[in-house]
Amino acid sequence: MPSGTLRTPAVPSSAPPPADGPPTGAAPPRVVARRPLGQWAAAAVVLVLLGLVLRSVAGNDAFRWDLVAAYFLTTPVLNGLLLTLGLTAAVLVLGFALGTLLATMRLAANPVLRGVSAGYIWLFRSVPILVQLLFWFNIGALYPTLLGVRTVHLLAPPVIAVLGLTLHEAAYAAEVVRAGILSVDRGQTEAAQSLGLGRWRRLRRIVLPQAMRSIVPPAGNMLIGTLKGTSVVSMIAVNDLLYSVQLIYHRTYQVIPMLMVATVWYVIITSLLSVGQHYVERRYARGTAGAR
């Protein structure tokens, strides 16, 4: 515990010394906080190291900050960014829709529904997302035609990106939603049942809104993870943010500056999402103590 949190008792100077205390003369003894010299020494070392790193970054011309600035708002980069954002939004919405379905199946009384859901979650959490994407990318080897159409035409890379990321996301979303549903008092469901509310209505109007309080924080983490995770689709030639800067540096050989362009964009969007999460959490705290 840092000694800064140690409270000095507010003893009025006129107060008499405690009867059982040692003889003190006129004034009661003052409290002097211990100085954590070791921590300050460590902090100084960290600051020096940080300064050295910053100086080398700023002073290293290979970063080519001029190029970073020049490419930051170019059309290919912005198009890539747009695709990354669209992909993230689609995967989040579809992933949580499928995840909610899986969560309700997992909580159903029917053992087949429970088993199927548990099996799905187990499988899609066990296989790395990159492996899953490459699998869908090559699904044509297993099924050359689907629905009478050549698989490669039906499953273009962007479709595979949405499909693959969604199936993966849903497995995680299912567990988040399930934990959220379980966090809602069983009495809420019973009250809704005794009022004649149907299964779907109970879930949508009563249980899920309350579950959101425990769903939003991990879902926010997942969203940020998904945003960054979409960069794996550059492996299957989908023109996302990372792929579009890769296209540029394959041409110009300016690898580091172009990676910095993508990095700065990822950091900006992630920061905005964190702020947004704060407001969403506030909204779902409605009706709880201290919130309005």
Partner: protein
């Protein structure tokens, strides 16, 4: 026996949770317009009995009928088939249930708590449901709390909202499971007053409670349950003051 038609007919209901027999053959008849108070020691099956009346709990055998309709099951020959959820939900809209811990919906305002079921289960318009809700809130003395959230209310106020919520469906029968047990002593009276008012209006009610004074004042019939059976029942004057069974006497000696 009352000349009134039976609002509730419970016949030979058995219910067990795994190896534990909780209801061991319960018969109960409640006439329309009457107030029945159920008392008995903890674990005797009072809540379980009440919950079978709106099929929150399934029975193992026996029948429960409310207003002449079997609850939760359909009879065919000598078999009872459980109804589909839709039909059970429709039956429940005719039976109000008030829980010990209120179970208000914390994310909805008071008036939204009252309009949710009429709108979604009975298909009322939101406008009509809101008008009814405000009238009911006025009746339980909470007209000014319509837009508050449940957690901003005292326990007694929350339970009065819960009663109004049950009334919003205009049920034929009201079930109360220890409606004042979660309340601070000084808040018990305001909730009992609301229930007494309902009794005066001729609402058919079954109330599980430990408030013997309330039973004496309001009940038409007091039922004493112990160990999964109805040991004894009768008008409050008889059951509370001159119980026939030794177990009733022993219980009353402890709680009075």
């Amino acid at each position: 026996m009352s000349p009134q038609p039976a609002m509730v007919e419970v016949r030979a209901v058995h219910k067990s949770f795994g190896p534990l027999d909780v209801l061991k053959g319960v018969d109960l008849r409640v006439a329309a317009g009457e107030v029945t108070v159920v008392i008995g020691p903890s674990g005797s099956g009072k809540s379980t009995l009440l919950r079978t009346l709106n099929h929150l709990e399934k029975v193992d055998s026996g029948t429960v009928a409310v207003d002449g309709t079997l609850i939760g099951y359909r009879r065919s020959g000598d078999r009872l088939y459980e109804l589909r959820e839709r039909e059970i939900l429709r039956q429940r809209t005719r039976i109000g249930f008030v829980f010990q811990d209120f179970h208000l919906f914390p994310h909805l305002t008071v008036v939204e708590n009252l309009t949710e079921a009429p709108v979604s289960a009975l298909g009322r318009s939101r406008k009509a449901a809101t008008a009814t809700a405000l009238a009911l809130l006025d009746r339980v003395g909470l007209a000014d709390k319509a837009d508050a959230y449940p957690r901003q209310l005292s326990g007694g106020q929350q339970q009065r909202v819960a009663i109004a919520r049950a009334l919003a469906l205009e049920p034929k029968l009201l079930l109360f499971d220890e409606p004042t047990s979660a309340l601070d002593p000084e808040l018990v009276g305001e909730v009992l007053d609301v229930i007494k008012d309902l009794a005066r209006r001729g609402t058919t009610m079954i109330v599980v409670t430990h408030e013997i004074g309330f039973a004496r004042e309001v009940a038409d019939t007091v039922v004493f349950m112990a160990d999964g059976r109805i040991v004894e029942q009768g008008p409050p004057g008889q059951l509370l003051d001159a119980p026939r069974e030794a177990r009733t006497r022993a219980f009353l000696a402890k709680v009075l």
